[in-house]
């Protein structure tokens, strides 16, 4: 038997965290429950974040949008603000898990799990997301790339909570592209993924580009070198081939049961070739 707490406010949460410092917190539980069953984590008590209103929903703040950490993937997919401003996130969410997993899983859980295969992460990286961390008597805001330290590792300290994710609206990019390579079409952990934001001119020139890869290193990977190889160039097979070759040397993937490192490396580059579909 295990205690499960369902606080309704942050104050209740802080109080619980003081009384049960060893408790494991969870939102949708789609990562935590799997690990509990497998005995990978032990938890004498669980605290569920689902009922805390402060952690729920999307808030349009003008230039910025705030997403409560416990907002489910399904809620995000249906949200008009996210649909309008962050189509790349929508693309990634729509291939995350399966409908039941999207009904339960949250963006905060995906971020704190900090898997290099987490599907929301490459989009959040290219969108320069920031996270808001709170504790009983304080709060801070920091870039996502500083929050995630390694596979499964974040800079969250004891008693700290991921409260939400900040995204800046930007009209700069006219191509939002996300592609995930998995072993099947649903319920698939990314073997490689690519998020790309491009500003492509009428003549087909890449004026701005931001790229991030999932599952090819300990965290989501970005490469200034590959971005520079594309910036200012017209989209062509040749340009993309060059960028792909650079990407293949930039990534540091591992072998695992889903794919070899060599395959991941090849495909990390190959996925750039898909951008040919945006040539003018």
């Amino acid at each position: 038997m295990r205690e499960v707490f369902l606080p309704r406010t942050l104050d209740e949460l802080w109080d619980l965290l003081r009384r049960r410092p060893e408790a494991v917190i969870y939102a949708g539980g789609t990562d935590v429950l799997v690990k509990l069953r497998a005995g990978l984590i032990a938890a004498s008590s669980l605290i569920c974040l689902e009922r805390i209103e402060d952690l729920q929903g999307v808030r349009d703040q003008g230039d910025e949008v705030y997403i409560g950490a416990a907002t489910t993937h399904r809620t995000l997919l249906a949200d008009p603000v996210i649909q309008e401003h962050f189509p790349i996130l929508i693309q990634a969410l729509s291939v995350l898990g399966s409908p039941p997993v999207r009904n339960m899983g949250t963006i905060g859980g995906n971020v704190v799990t900090a898997s290099p295969a987490g599907d929301t992460l490459p989009p959040l990286y290219v969108l320069d997301a920031e996270v808001e961390v709170r504790w009983s008597d304080g709060a801070k805001r920091l870039p996502l790339s500083q929050f995630i330290l390694g596979p499964g590792k974040t800079s969250l300290g004891p008693g700290q909570l991921l409260a939400g994710v900040w995204l800046r609206k930007s009209a700069d990019y006219n191509v939002h592209h996300f592609e995930k390579v998995g072993q099947r079409k649903a319920l698939a952990i990314a073997v490689v993924s690519l998020a790309a934001l491009l500003k492509v001119s009428d003549s087909g020139r890449i004026d701005q580009v931001r790229l991030a890869w999932g599952s090819v290193g300990p965290t989501v990977m970005r490469s200034g070198e590959v971005e520079s190889a594309l910036e200012g160039r017209v989209i062509s097979r040749e340009t993309l081939d060059q960028a792909a070759a650079l990407a293949q040397t930039a990534v540091s993937p591992i072998d695992d049961i889903r794919a070899s490192g060599a395959y991941r490396r090849t495909v990390a580059g190959n996925l750039l070739l898909r951008l040919i579909n945006y040539a003018r």
Binding site: K185, A259, Y263, R274, I276
Partner: protein, 765 residues
């Protein structure tokens, strides 16, 4: 709401189990609990090959809530089980032969006490060098899995030879040689292996199991428990899927043993998914060497096949699977000169066992790719090449057996050749999008029905008019989800004129129903259906005769059976069946009928052992499959965008269940073709759960078209043949041929993961 329509043959008959299953009311074996329940579970070895030095269970016995910890020493009878060769220990006594072997059995008050006790069992295991490849297992000096087996690591070998000697190869215009490798496949039924057992006050051991073969189970469990088989009762509810993985002992012997130590309390065992993976059986991996020769016009002339099937450490049904593979290894073609050889080989890998397709899946994968390789070499159309060689009724098949049953492969292939998917393929291929390549591939399939010649393929049906005036059908063959229980009602109802609401069904139960063999081998409705027709007709005759006597009619011709009553049509008089039943004695109210499936008289294999294991068969189902695939140039990902299966399995009794069998076979076959990459390293499963072993989701499955070619099978119930397995054989070769057409190169190891396909594409360009 009972359906009040009298079932007819050839139209959709709603499944009797649909509503109860959707509502969660149907009780599967895994749903049995009861008061004072005892949980049972086993300690698994975790290493593939080791000598058991000692087993210390004292600490486990001290765990609070533990009722008993049993080892091989507690087995009252023989500690060996197996369908054919008894080579598998219930609890290890000398050696561990695969990582899933059971070492000790624990009975506990709760699941948590059970888990705690299992952790406390200390086993001293001296690791032994293992053998993990079927060909290496045959080499001199290979570690032996069973030291006492006179054939070393060979469980069984089979050879069939027809026609002339080596010189026939000189008569061929084209010769193709290739080697194919297919992997293990996990059944992944929803309901993992489970059961419940209890010793009744009169000493009878009742076992409720998720099983395909309750009657055979009884004869396997009895010697282990040192009991007479009749003192054991096995009850087989609907299974939550089985696919061959429950054709043989899983939990039954362990549960029987546990029940003997539970003081009359009910005992439950239910493997979790991980245990199902490690301890359950899998489709046999195969390495297949093929040589195929043909004349310039494509007429097949000679074939040479060597098959190595990895049966893991135990026979299970490995010998039978291998002989079935040999029998089908030349495909559904006339080939005058054949040398077909197979070896079923012991290794320390997971246990090979029955799985929908039963050896035919593997060889069809190889042979149908050989046909495409040959078509390319000779520049022939792949449909025409197959049509040219397709077996017809009266032909000899590749093992030299004259086909006397219906054989509709030609009709299937002709329909395929005319179908828009085939006719318009070039247009579809050319419409491939940016960075995509498309291909269309074919496969011709056949599948034998039943047990073969020696093991009697028998069913005994029983139908009763109850005192309440209902028709009660005693199902002898388990319904593992395929719908044969409903089909039994459809058959009996159509003969006896009774709507479903007027009928009752008794599920297989060794104390209540009659032995009718296993739910396997595409035989369920063929064999049991034939028996059921006999029983239902006998009961009908008796009812009408007795009603005629009672009404002083001139004869039974004046009477008809309609739902719930007998009507004298000449006068309009009705007698409710409930009234009539009272005029019959208890024995008169029951009709039974036995049917044995016909057998082939030829003896293609010299070795009597091979005949005993099933070769040859005489009735086959056939089919032509087509897959439309799109391959991604950047990732190697294969997407199946269209699928067509044209099937000859005789007449269709219920178009809905028929289509479900075809669809199910295709989906399971697509998983096998594309994503189910079961990996074992040195005897240890690497893909040990459903997060890493990738079965298809609904998103991965295309629109599937199923078209029946309804040729009457004269020996079949209402003209049908078996449909349970035939569709499983097509997807791998059809998809492989389509991928090869798209990529210009071919993989010879399966499944066709994106990684393998990308490699082939890179190599070709």
């Amino acid at each position: 709401m009972p359906d009040d329509r009298i079932p007819q043959i050839g139209v959709v008959f709603p499944r009797t189990d649909a509503l109860t299953k959707v509502r969660g009311e149907e009780r599967f074996a895994a749903d049995y609990y009861g008061r004072d329940l005892v949980w049972a579970g086993v300690k698994r070895a975790g290493i593939p090959h080791a000598r058991l030095k000692s087993l210390d269970v004292d600490q486990a016995r001290q765990v609070p809530g533990v009722i008993a910890v049993l080892t091989h020493r507690d087995i009252p009878g023989e500690n060996r089980q197996g369908v054919v060769r008894k080579d598998q220990p219930v609890l290890v006594d000398d050696k561990v032969r695969h990582a899933g072997d059971a070492l000790a059995l624990v009975l506990a008050e709760s699941k948590s006490a059970l888990a705690a006790a299992l952790k406390c069992i200390m086993c001293e295991l001296e690791p032994l060098p293992g053998v993990f490849d079927p060909e290496q297992a045959l080499a001199d000096g290979a570690p032996l899995v069973h030291e006492d087996n006179p054939e070393g690591n060979i469980l069984l070998k089979a050879e069939v030879k027809t026609g002339g000697d080596e010189s026939v190869w000189d008569e061929c215009a084209a010769v193709i040689e290739a080697c194919f490798e297919t992997p293990h496949q996990e059944h992944c039924f929803l309901e993992t292996e489970s059961g419940w057992a209890k010793v009744e006050p009169d000493g009878k051991i009742v076992i409720v199991a998720s099983t395909q073969a309750p009657f055979r189970d009884r004869t396997e469990v009895a010697p282990v428990l040192g009991q007479d088989p009749t003192s054991i009762r096995v009850i087989a509810p609907y299974t939550g899927g089985a696919f061959g993985g429950k054709d043989g002992i899983t939990v039954q012997s362990l549960l029987g043993l546990a029940a003997l130590h539970a003081q009359g309390r009910p005992v439950k065992m239910w493997w979790d998914r991980e245990e199902s993976f490690v301890a359950g059986t899998k489709r046999h991996p195969a390495r297949m060497y093929y040589r195929l020769g043909a004349k310039t016009d494509g007429t097949l002339h000679a074939i040479d096949v060597r098959l190595y099937l990895d049966t893991g450490p135990y026979d299970h049904l490995g010998g039978a699977v291998m002989t079935q593979a040999v029998e089908h290894s030349g495909g559904p073609y006339r080939i005058p000169h054949a040398r077909l050889r197979g070896w079923s080989v012991y290794t320390n890998n997971p246990i090979g066992g029955a799985f929908r397709g039963f050896g035919v899946v593997q060889v069809t994968a190889a042979m149908e790719q050989m046909m495409d390789l040959l078509a390319v070499k000779l520049g022939l159309d792949p449909v025409q090449l197959r049509l040219k060689n397709a077996v017809r009724c009266g032909d000899k098949n590749c093992v030299g057996v004259t086909l006397t049953g219906s054989a509709g492969l030609e009709e299937c292939l002709e329909k395929m050749a005319r179908h828009p998917y085939w006719q318009n393929r070039q247009i579809w291929i050319q419409a491939a999008g940016s960075l995509k390549r498309r291909g269309v591939g074919l496969a011709a399939v056949m599948h034998a029905m039943g047990y073969g010649t020696v093991v009697p393929d028998v069913a005994n049906a029983q139908v009763e008019l109850t005192l309440e005036g209902k028709i009660r059908v005693y199902s002898g063959v388990v319904d593992m989800g395929q719908g044969n229980a409903a089909t039994n009602l459809q058959i009996a109802g159509s003969i006896l004129g009774q709507a479903p609401g007027q009928m009752e069904l008794v599920q297989p139960d060794t104390d209540r129903t009659l032995p009718s063999g296993s739910a396997s081998a595409s035989r369920c409705t063929y064999t049991f259906g034939n028996a059921l027709i006999g029983a239902a007709q006998a009961l009908k005759e008796r009812i009408l005769q007795r009603a005629s006597d009672l009404l002083m009619a001139a004869g039974p011709d004046e009477l008809v059976l309609v739902s719930g009553l007998v009507r004298r049509v000449t006068t309009g008089q009705d007698i409710p069946l409930a009234v009539l039943a009272k005029w019959l004695t208890d024995t008169e109210r029951i009709a039974v009928y036995r049917f044995r499936a016909p057998v082939a008289q030829e003896r293609p294999a010299k070795d009597e052992q091979v005949r005993l294991h099933g070769l040859p068969h005489c009735i086959f189902s056939y089919g032509a499959h087509l897959a439309m695939v799109e391959v991604d140039e950047l990732t190697g990902a294969v997407e199946v965008q269209g699928y067509l299966a044209i099937t000859d399995s005789g007449r269709v009794l219920n178009p809905q269940t028929y289509e479900q069998q075809i669809h199910g076979g295709i989906v399971q076959g697509l998983g096998y073709a594309l994503s189910e990459d079961f990996r074992v390293a040195d005897g240890r499963i690497q893909t040990s759960d459903l997060a890493t072993y990738i079965i298809p989701t609904a998103m991965d499955v295309p629109e599937m078209l199923s078209i029946p070619v309804e040729i009457n099978e004269p020996t079949g119930p209402f003209g049908l043949k078996g449909v349970g397995e035939v569709a499983m054989n097509g997807p791998l070769p059809a998809v492989a041929n389509a991928v090869a057409a798209a990529c210009g190169g071919r993989c010879f190891s399966f499944p066709l993961t994106s990684e393998r396909v990308l490699q082939v594409m890179t190599f070709e360009s």
